[in-house]
């Protein structure tokens, strides 16, 4: 159900993006006399990617806010240095938007037992939650759900695939 929702949401965003992209073409005509119009267009289209209080950055591939998956080492729940920025960006957004709520969905790879992996997924979710709390997100904005190894994104028994599955997904339920 949830994933169906996400798919729908993704489709809506994709359609919206496609619509945005197509707009410059009709306005291509007036490009001969663009001087006054350009600055207006730019401030709307390109927010500062490092402004994590700007919700437009959720869809800006330049911004860490657009990244919502944190990957982990085998049987570990330490947030690796390269993912700290993503966690910090979302923590900053949560701190700036009191209405923001997110679910941190913890996952494990298929190795090991299912119930232990439920514990491991939760531990990963808690690690991200703890970091976000330390960086200004309120406890009531964050909830952790573990799916253990039950919802893999990749179903092949290889290291590359396992690495994709050991993750925490940041899922906003309200922005």
């Amino acid at each position: 159900m949830k994933s169906a929702w996400r798919l729908t949401l993704a489709l809506i965003i994709a359609v919206a993006l496609a619509a945005c992209k197509s707009t410059p073409e009709p306005t291509a005509g007036p490009e001969q006399q663009p001087v006054e119009q350009k600055p207006v267009v730019e401030t709307q289209a390109a927010p500062d990617p490092r402004d994590y209080t700007d919700s437009r950055n959720f869809d800006n591939p330049e911004s860490l806010l657009s990244k919502r998956v944190i990957y982990f080492d085998f049987d570990k729940s330490t947030v690796r240095p390269e993912f700290r920025g993503i966690v910090a960006a979302h923590a900053a957004y949560a701190a700036s938007s009191g209405s923001a709520r997110m679910t941190l969905e913890g996952h494990a790879d298929e190795r090991g037992t299912r119930e232990y992996n439920l514990g491991l997924g939760e531990r990963r979710g808690n690690a991200v939650s703890g970091l976000m709390s330390a960086q200004g997100a309120r406890g009531d904005q964050l909830s952790v759900v573990s799916y253990g190894e039950e919802r893999p994104t990749c179903r092949v028994s290889t290291e590359d695939c396992w690495a994709m599955n050991r993750r925490v997904e940041i899922v906003y339920t309200a922005k």
Partner: protein, 433 residues
């Protein structure tokens, strides 16, 4: 079947699935070269109407064969088909190197509805009767009756009660992506008659039988987070046991079914709790920042075995049900999890990890040694048969999950394959009286 004692043999059980659940096929992967030669002679059918497609003697021979300890003779190779003792020519059977012979009849029970299976087991060499019994079952229970006969023969010849008249529960996953569907299925121990007792588009896991064999506890994600349910297998009535914040997992009934051990992470990390099934009151049994989960009771009900990574990596620990300090049980290996305790309480089967390989291993609590029973690579969820003879477990073949069973000595291995999709999370029922 005698001639066909190769390492790879296929025995397909022809059967009709009662509900939507797909049939399991069982095949022997590794046989036992010292299997006992036995002839189960076709039973004489004395009831009105034709005999069922799966005859009583076929079911008995199939059970004995799949145990790996017996090598039943093909009916086509039998020189004669006696159904009375005076017609058995022992000399002939001895020449054919048959050690044991089973003969019998099936007739309508005295109530006019049920069935009576009248049978005898003989030692061919001594020309001696070892067993002579009448097994009476209700209408529709002829298969169950045949399994009971196989149980009795198995017990007479091995000294261990048979477990053929038991059932197994397992989870299947079919479809992919958003079309994936999970079902909790209950089938006879020979894979016959699978019935889906609950289906969901969200994951189902950790089925655990009550010791009266009537209920299954399991974990369902149908509400978005893990939750524990208990369901009556026959009526389908179910009760929500736990759906609090965090993990609600790994249910296990106490031997008297009055208590349930479960994993809850409401305190912030997974701990073992004990729930009184009558009052619903729950008390915390473990208290450690590590992952404590996968609790099971010892057969005498005095201890809980569980998985904990309090020492750094997952190992099996033991704590009295009355509380106290857990002590580590498994002392070898880098990863030992999800204990299943043998019915005599002396051994525990675990999923043992070493690098990327996971195998089923058995820890002997007296000798403090592991015996690795399976080849890997991703073997998990061991479940002892109620007689301790076999261990059912989940493994992977290519990208799909299948169930396998291995004898407690590791010599015999069978494979249970679903026609489509994944099979996982097996749980062997207690003996149903």
């Amino acid at each position: 079947m005698r001639k066909a004692i190769h390492l790879t043999l296929v025995l397909i059980l022809i059967a009709v699935a009662r509900t939507g659940a797909a049939q399991l096929q069982i095949e022997i992967v590794d046989g036992n070269p010292s299997a006992l030669p036995i002839a189960v002679v076709p039973f004489e059918w004395l009831e009105a109407g034709p005999p069922p497609a799966d005859t009583v003697d076929t079911i008995i021979a199939g059970d004995l064969y799949r145990s790996g300890l017996f090598d039943p003779m093909d009916v086509a190779d039998m020189p004669e088909q006696p159904s009375a003792q005076e017609n058995i020519r022992f000399g002939t059977w001895r020449l054919l190197k048959v050690d044991y012979i089973v003969i019998g009849k099936v007739r309508t029970a005295a109530d006019g509805l049920g069935h009576e299976i009248i049978y005898q087991l003989f030692d061919v060499h001594k020309q001696e009767e070892l067993l002579s019994r009448i097994t009476t079952v209700g209408p529709g229970d002829l298969r169950f009756g045949a399994h009971r006969v196989a149980d009795a023969i198995y017990e007479k010849l091995t000294g261990v009660p048979g477990a053929f008249s038991t059932r197994i529960a397992y989870v299947t996953a079919t479809g992919i992506g958003n079309g994936i569907r999970y079902e909790l299925v209950v089938a006879d121990a020979d894979g016959f008659g699978p019935q889906s007792i609950v289906g969901s588009p969200e994951p189902l896991l950790s089925p655990a039988w009550s010791h009266d064999g009537r209920k299954l506890a399991y974990v369902s994600f149908e509400q978005g987070n893990s939750a524990i349910y208990v369901q009556d297998v026959a009526t389908g009535a179910r009760e929500l046991i736990s759906s609090g914040r965090g993990i609600n997992g790994a249910p296990a009934f106490s031997p008297d079914d009055r208590k349930m051990a479960l994993t809850l992470s409401r305190s912030g990390n997974p701990e073992i709790y004990l729930r009184d099934m009558a009052t619903g009151r729950t008390e915390q049994l473990t208290n450690h920042w590590s992952i404590d989960t996968e609790a099971v009771f010892s057969p005498d009900g005095r201890f809980i075995y569980f998985t904990s990574d309090r020492g750094g990596r997952p190992q099996i620990y033991r704590v009295p049900v009355t509380g106290g300090n857990p002590e580590r049980v498994t002392l070898e290996g880098e990863y030992n999890a999800r204990a299943s305790v043998s019915p005599d309480g002396r051994k525990i089967a675990v999923a043992q990890g070493r690098g990327n390989e996971y195998r089923i291993a058995v820890w002997d609590m007296e000798t403090e040694r592991f015996t690795v029973l399976t080849p890997g690579k991703l073997d998990e969820s061991p479940s002892f048969a109620p007689n301790g003879s076999m261990i059912l477990y989940a493994t992977r073949e290519g990208d799909r999950g299948v169930l396998s069973a291995v004898s407690a000595d590791g010599n015999v291995r069978t494979r249970l394959i679903l026609s489509e999709g994944d099979v996982r999370e097996p749980a062997w029922s207690p003996v149903i009286r």
